[in-house]
């Protein structure tokens, strides 16, 4: 009798009984650029549905995020809006260097207020005097602003439009300016155009022409939940995740060793 009870107990404990639950995987903390807020939350939901664990996001400006990692904040995975900030963390020796890879790419777009609605044939259409105020992210502070400036310089029109530029605290603020009518045009990320209320897309920078906008991702070294972070990072490259990224107009980058 006792033996049977023990055997039954062991079997139950080993999972022979109904209602067996796998132990919950550790939650991970992912620091990611603000522009990835909506898309990553949808990806994390898909991850959970596919048997993945809990992902806690910390969205912010990439330079703030990098600073936090460097000072020892409990971050498991870092997805930056530009390579410079990822380099900051790498230089502090805190990245699992082998895990670093370019995750996504983005493109710039020009949005205009509905009154000036037209389809550009090139970026130079921005020189039209109808665009008296052109909003961009502040090139001194915001990656999107840096990219916008690069793009305008490469097109050779930076000097001419400079006096009409309105630097904004963030790229979303630049978009909002056009929505509100306080700017006639703005240079934003293509992925931001979904949030436009009145502004219309006039131009999307072709891949060969625009600046290389890359979102690198890397696992932070020495964290207890590194395995879970790896699982999530791998999930970001699956077809499910890719579809969600493309839905938001992000461009998944092919996985290749750096």
């Amino acid at each position: 009798m006792h033996v049977a009870a023990i055997v039954a107990a062991v079997l139950l404990a080993a999972g022979a009984g109904p209602g067996w639950q796998a132990p919950a995987p550790e939650p991970i903390t992912v620091s990611a650029a603000v522009s990835l807020t909506d898309v990553l939350q949808e990806v994390a939901a898909a991850y959970a549905q596919n048997g993945g664990g809990t992902v806690r996001f910390n969205f912010g400006a990439s330079n703030t995020l990098a600073r936090q990692v460097v000072e020892g904040a409990p971050v498991d995975l870092f997805i930056s809006a530009d390579e410079a900030q990822m380099d900051v963390v790498a230089k502090a020796g805190l990245l699992d260097a082998a895990s670093r890879a370019d995750l996504l790419a983005n493109r710039l777009a020009v949005v205009v207020s509905p009154e000036h609605r037209r389809a550009f044939t090139s970026l130079r259409d921005l020189l039209d005097p109808a665009f008296k105020r052109i909003a961009i992210g502040d090139p001194a502070a915001v990656p999107a602003g840096v990219y916008a400036k690069q793009y305008l310089e490469r097109a050779g029109i930076w000097e001419q439009v400079q006096s009409r530029l309105v630097p904004s605290a963030s790229v979303r603020a630049a978009l909002a300016a056009v929505d509100a009518g306080s700017a006639d045009a703005a240079v934003v990320y293509r992925t931001d155009t979904h949030a436009a209320k009145r502004a219309v897309v006039a131009w999307v920078a072709p891949i060969w022409e625009g600046p290389r906008i890359i979102y690198p991702a890397a696992i932070v070294k020495g964290r207890p939940a590194a395995a879970q972070a790896r699982r999530f990072l791998d999930f970001l490259r699956t077809a499910t995740a890719t579809r969600i990224f493309e839905k938001y107009d992000f461009i998944p980058v092919e996985s290749r060793p750096r």
Partner: protein, 219 residues
């Protein structure tokens, strides 16, 4: 739904921050009002710093102190306490930003207490602690409370330092101010405006209350 959680979280952490700031700030305000000690100007200046420094800079200093590599962070993690990216970081950031307001306001209240009364109490046998608790504090009470309310209001509106040391983690460290920023950045205007209305309403009530209290003591 999320809106109410964020509001409740902000009120709770702001109240916690005020509760943390009070036992430090009120005695400090009294010391600055009454005592003359070496290093007094230094203390005055350090306490006022968070008022004039950019909040992000204050947040950075807190991060350097409480991060895993920082002196306080290391000591705390030996005892198993993690601060960064938790509600504790929110409370600390709020307390640090609210403390100067509390100290400056309360100090004014203590300076208005008739010094003679404190001196008479001393001659009657009361040591400094008893004088503080039975004479100075009760007589400066309305102003001290006004200072606490101001600190609470400041804590509610705190953003720059909080986001640096507590991050913006939905459901874990998102305060009203941080959530408003986040919603505005991702184009969720309705949620942002709803939180904005709540935030403004709370700030208004707090300031109005503080003014009434401080004004009442002058009556």
């Amino acid at each position: 739904m999320d809106v109410w959680h964020v509001t409740w979280f902000s009120l709770a952490t702001a109240a916690g921050a005020t509760a943390v700031a009070l036992p430090i700030g009120v005695p400090l305000a009294w010391l600055l009002a009454r005592a003359r000690f070496t290093g007094r100007s230094l203390v005055e200046t350090i306490v006022s710093l968070p008022l004039v420094m950019p909040p992000v800079a204050t947040g950075l200093i807190l991060l350097m102190l409480f991060g895993r590599r920082g002196p306080l962070g290391r000591a705390l993690s030996w005892v198993g306490i993690d601060v960064v990216f938790t509600w504790k970081a929110v409370v600390i950031a709020m307390a640090v930003m609210g403390l100067p307001l509390l100290v400056r306001t309360a100090r004014g209240g203590f300076e208005q207490v008739d010094r003679r009364l404190e001196q008479v109490a001393a001659t009657l046998g009361a040591g400094p602690a008893r004088v503080f608790l039975t004479i100075s504090l009760p007589l400066a009470w309305p102003t001290v409370v006004a200072g606490a309310v101001l600190a609470f209001a400041r804590a509610l509106g705190e953003f720059g330092a909080t986001i640096m040391i507590a991050g913006s983690i939905p459901g874990v460290t998102r305060t009203l101010a941080v959530a408003i920023y986040s919603y505005a950045e991702t184009g969720q205007d309705r949620a942002a405006v709803a939180l904005l209305a709540i935030s403004t309403g709370l700030a208004f009530a707090a300031l109005w209350g503080a003014n009434r209290l401080a004004g009442g003591s002058r009556a």
